[in-house]
């Protein structure tokens, strides 16, 4: 089993690491969080120039034809610096769906994603359906020969900045993925900050007229495509979590070596040493499942779906343990918003809640066995 990264992959990691070191310290990040858009347009442009926005796309669409391995490399580094730019929603989620859909203009849409010109978000959650995304109420109907969409979509990542949405809705009683312009009549958007400093929005569709071309996948194809997108997204935020875990335990080790109480560094206390060892062990175990899931997704292994659930559970549990202990070992400083350590806990909490939380994936894993 060769688990070494290629030179190209190592270079990508170095590049992201360097970018985050120079552009993404705590203060830089705070400024981004406070901005209206909730992300940095300059950073996004740099992502485009560095080619990062092209990572997962096929060569024929102007991409690098990289796969899950490269995405996890990127996300691990993002996780260390708690990067908030909407890479997940715009590149991974929307990109996966568009590239694998039957959209007639997909090359030109992907071109605009790669150039950083457009951000697109997937609208899948709703107020009352929990994680059962296919049981949605948003649906199309025909009135006076006009096809229109009605319903509400929730928690749409980066909604305020998206120029287009891919909406999961019912069409003829079946799941469909429908591409809709953000500016279209009948669509209203409320934007919110999220607990971890990102943004999301609530979309309300009132008789939004659509043409059949905008239905880019339907029926079992739409659901398969959506599931593919979910698996890859879970993989990416899990990689992000691994990066955040790494940073959390390393920052905690550093802090306990520097903080003195009882006339000695608190890292001398064995109970804290063991706690940090636990954090380290959980990070390594999570990394293992991440690599396993990455390789399975990369090779279209039929077990990938189950491994993804296992990974999501491990990420949820380990993220909680590591995030909480990192805060605990920082004492009061841990709950101060001025320290990065609490922001990792927030990101772990958000990551656990997305695409099915720990309990959801325990149950899914059990059912699939």
């Amino acid at each position: 089993m060769n688990l070494n990264y290629s030179d190209e992959q190592n270079m990508l990691r170095e590049q992201v690491l360097k970018f985050c070191e120079t552009n993404y310290d705590f203060i830089d990040r705070e400024k981004i969080l406070e901005s209206d858009s909730g992300f940095s347009k300059d950073n996004w442009q740099q992502f485009a120039e560095l080619g990062w926005l092209a990572v997962p796309f096929k060569e024929e669409n102007g991409g690098f034809n990289f796969g899950p391995v490269e995405l996890t490399v990127l996300f691990e580094e993002f996780g260390k610096a708690l990067v908030v730019e909407p890479y997940l929603s715009s590149v991974v989620m929307s990109g996966t769906i568009i590239e694998n859909s039957n959209h007639k203009n997909k090359s030109s849409i992907i071109e605009k994603i790669i150039s950083g010109e457009h951000q697109i978000s997937v609208a899948y959650a709703e107020p009352n359906i929990g994680y059962k995304f296919f049981d949605c109420y948003a649906s199309t109907s025909v009135n006076n020969n006009i096809l229109s969409l009605n319903g509400t979509k929730s928690l749409v990542l980066n909604a305020g900045n998206a120029s287009q949405f891919i909406v999961l809705a019912k069409h003829d009683g079946l799941s469909a993925l429908i591409m809709i312009d953000a500016e279209v009549d009948g669509l209203s958007i409320q934007s919110f900050k999220t607990i971890d400093g990102q943004t999301c929005g609530e979309l309300t569709f009132e008789n939004v007229s659509i043409d059949t071309d905008s239905i880019i996948a339907s029926g079992v194809d739409a659901e398969a495509l959506f599931n593919k997108m979910m698996d890859l997204s879970i993989l990416c935020i899990s990689a992000e979590a691994v990066g955040a875990m790494n940073a959390s335990y390393m920052k905690t080790v550093q802090y306990t070596k520097e903080r003195e109480q009882f006339s000695q560094p608190i890292s001398n206390f064995q109970v804290l040493q063991h706690r940090m060892v636990d954090m380290f062990i959980e990070t390594e175990l999570t990394k293992s499942l991440l690599i396993k899931a990455t390789l399975q997704l990369d090779s279209n292994d039929p077990n990938a779906e189950n491994t993804i659930s296992a990974l999501k559970v491990q990420v949820g549990k380990a993220g909680r343990l590591i995030g909480q202990n990192a805060v605990q070992l920082h004492g009061g400083m841990g709950v101060s918003n001025e320290m990065s350590i609490g922001h990792y806990l927030k990101r772990f909490t958000a990551i656990d809640s997305m695409f099915g939380n720990t309990q959801y994936h325990i149950n899914k894993y059990q059912t699939n066995q």
């Binding site: 959650a125 609530e202 909480q324 009061g332």
Partner: protein, 294 residues
């Protein structure tokens, strides 16, 4: 918190002066124990009080002071003497927050709220009759207060109410996993509650809450934190939108259940409970030393 110290160690004059207002909720007190360099090792505190005629001159800083921004008074541990044994030079002073030379600066916590503060003292003049008990005996009073504080932190009644609330909020989910976790929590709470009653019974017979209150503090805060986790779990993905402790503007409601957003704030906020009042690690050190004798 300060009430028991005043009625146990205060002069008659101090009791008459402070207790009625405390009972009527007319004055609010904050706790000036922790300092930037002295958290778990509280006895290493450095805020200095020097007796000058009939008043103390106080210099130094306190931190993590809960609700200092609203407090009328602060009870402070100060160093009145530099002694060989660090516990010995500590005194317990009551200070009016309106005294010139006191500056309060907010510390924002990870839930975005302003609950704690830094408090700075520059040549603050405190009448000597606001000293509790004897000079240099402050550590004894401080520990006495901490035992009472830990007792309070256990929070059994509040947890009961919050468990019931969670059950009501989630009844319609029929979520077997969630219900099982709630039941487990209730069982732990029963054990804690009866432990508290045993301690109370001992106090009724003339005892004082001692190292046993550390049991209540540890398990009480663990239960509280687990409860906040269950709220978050129940709310699922709807915890994501959060616009700060003041909630959402009135004309905007995020999706999902209404309890979702406050739940995640509470979860983050309650990380404090295993840190304050003496961290849970310190409580275990106390039990190891005072009860197990190791």
């Amino acid at each position: 918190m300060v009430g028991p110290v005043i009625y146990t160690f205060g002069t008659q004059e101090q009791k008459d002066r402070f207790l009625p207002d405390i009972l009527n909720f007319d004055t609010w007190w904050c706790q000036g124990y922790s300092e930037p360099g002295s958290g778990s090792d509280l006895a290493s505190l450095k805020t200095k009080a020097v007796l000058d005629g009939d008043q103390y001159i106080v210099n130094g800083s306190k931190t993590w002071t809960t609700l200092a921004q609203n407090a009328d008074w602060i009870f402070c541990l100060v160093r009145t003497e530099t002694t060989q044994k660090k516990q010995e030079g500590i005194s317990f002073l009551l200070i009016d927050m309106n005294t010139p030379g006191i500056e309060v600066k907010p510390i924002i916590t990870i839930d975005g709220d302003h609950e704690v503060n830094s408090v700075f003292f520059t040549d603050v003049k405190v009448p000597a009759d606001q000293l509790i008990g004897e000079e240099g005996k402050g550590w004894t009073y401080a520990k006495f207060l901490l035992a009472h504080e830990r007792f309070g932190i256990a929070g059994v009644p509040v947890v009961k109410v919050q468990i019931d609330r969670l059950k009501n909020l989630t009844a319609e989910y029929n979520d077997a996993d969630l219900n099982r976790k709630i039941a487990e929590l209730e069982i732990d709470l029963e054990a804690l509650e009866f432990t508290e009653l045993r301690t109370l019974a001992a106090i009724a017979e003339g005892g004082h809450p001692g190292a046993e209150s550390s049991i209540l503090k540890i398990r009480g805060t663990e239960i509280q934190q687990r409860l906040t986790e269950l709220y978050v779990e129940a709310a699922g993905q709807y915890i994501l939108p959060y616009e700060g402790p003041d909630g959402f503007e009135s004309n905007r409601t995020p999706s999902g259940p209404e309890y979702a957003s406050p739940s995640v704030a509470q979860y983050l906020n309650y990380r404090k409970t295993s840190i304050y009042g003496g961290s849970n690690e310190i409580q275990k050190n106390i039990i190891a030393k005072a009860i197990l004798g190791v």
